[in-house]
């Protein structure tokens, strides 16, 4: 069962991983996108950690809602509405459940609804889908994360800025899948989440 305290640790760790890797994320976004994924996400995660710090007494739904609003208002690129919707759907579901896989199901449904991408479109959905399943199966590991993120490399993008490049994007990793990998890596490295 996820508590508000553990959720905070998870999200703050996610923020730290994004900050540590923001140059790498923007580098991934350079050949097939608009080179801003790392900086956009880092700006959003600063807003997220500040929002959580300002409100120390939130319940689980409140933690996810505050996170969602920070990302929606501060990111600017596609990752804002996508991660924002993911956390907003987790906030709605957290009113009735503190079960992490159930919350992540809601998050993934939100990402799919917002972005309209399916598995195979070379987007964060290609990472989210197997990683949410791994939390259900109890098999989440760094190897599973690495494999899910790398699975976007051979694909032809159907959504997002990379779709303009078509087959020219083959061989490049989707930056949104990479940042999704950090979200799940943060889960692995936060005691009490899984």
């Amino acid at each position: 069962m996820l508590t508000p305290e553990i959720a905070r640790l998870w999200l703050n760790h996610f923020a730290a991983l994004i900050d540590d890797n923001k140059a790498h994320l923007s580098d991934l976004d350079t050949p097939i996108g608009d080179a801003d994924h790392g900086n956009n996400m880092a700006r959003g995660m600063v807003a997220l950690t500040e929002a959580l710090q300002a409100k120390p007494d939130l319940d689980l739904a409140g933690v996810f809602k505050a996170s969602a609003m920070a990302l929606i208002s501060k990111v600017g690129g596609a990752s804002g509405p996508l991660y924002g919707t993911a956390f907003l759907e987790m906030a709605k579901t957290a009113k009735n459940s503190a079960d992490l896989p159930t919350l992540l199901d809601a998050a993934l449904a939100g990402v799919i609804k917002r972005g309209g991408a399916e598995v195979g479109d070379k987007t964060m959905v290609d990472a989210w889908t197997p990683l949410v399943k791994a939390t259900h199966d109890g098999t989440l590991s760094q190897a599973v994360i690495d494999e899910a993120v790398a699975s976007t490399e051979p694909l032809v993008a159907k959504k997002g800025r990379a779709a303009y490049l078509g087959e020219r994007g083959i061989g490049h990793r989707d930056p949104g899948a990479e940042s999704t990998g950090y979200l799940f890596k943060a889960l692995l490295e936060t005691e009490g989440t899984l």
Binding site: D34, D36, N40, I72, S73, K74, V75, G76, G77, A78, G80, P81, L82, G84, T85, R114, G115, K159, G160, R161
Partner: protein, 122 residues
């Protein structure tokens, strides 16, 4: 029933510039815009889009945008809007110009939409 137009672009100058073109053919249509992030960087802002909805005095809005994430932020703003907003996946300039011309001439929304159909590119 009055109709207004909302323009959303990643670039503040594009969002502010297109209404100048539209106003030439639609002096009586309220046209509002949202461009760039809250810090006026390249990107879109759901808050700015919501403000563009609120500032528009029309009862019902037709929204046009440039690229992908503008659509996502538009959709979120639409879910929170207190008036109906129709979102069109047309080429931004041609779609908005067509709608402005027809609305100014008093053409009905279904007929405007019929003429927007061939301009859908995304």
């Amino acid at each position: 029933m009055t109709y207004g137009i909302v323009i959303v672009s990643h670039v503040p100058e594009i969002a502010a510039g297109l209404p100048k073109l539209l106003t030439q053919v639609a002096a009586h249509i309220d046209i509002t815009h949202a461009g760039g992030t809250d810090d006026n960087d390249i990107g879109t802002s759901m808050l700015k889009i919501s403000s563009a909805f609120d500032e528009n005095t029309a009862d019902e809005l037709l929204a046009f945008y440039d690229l992908g994430s503008a659509k996502m932020n538009l959709e979120m703003a639409i879910e929170m809007a207190d008036k109906p907003v129709h979102l069109y996946n047309t080429a931004l300039i041609e779609g908005a110009y067509t709608a402005a011309t027809l609305l100014e001439a008093g053409v009905s929304l279904p007929d405007v939409e019929k003429q927007l159909k061939p301009l859908v590119i995304k």
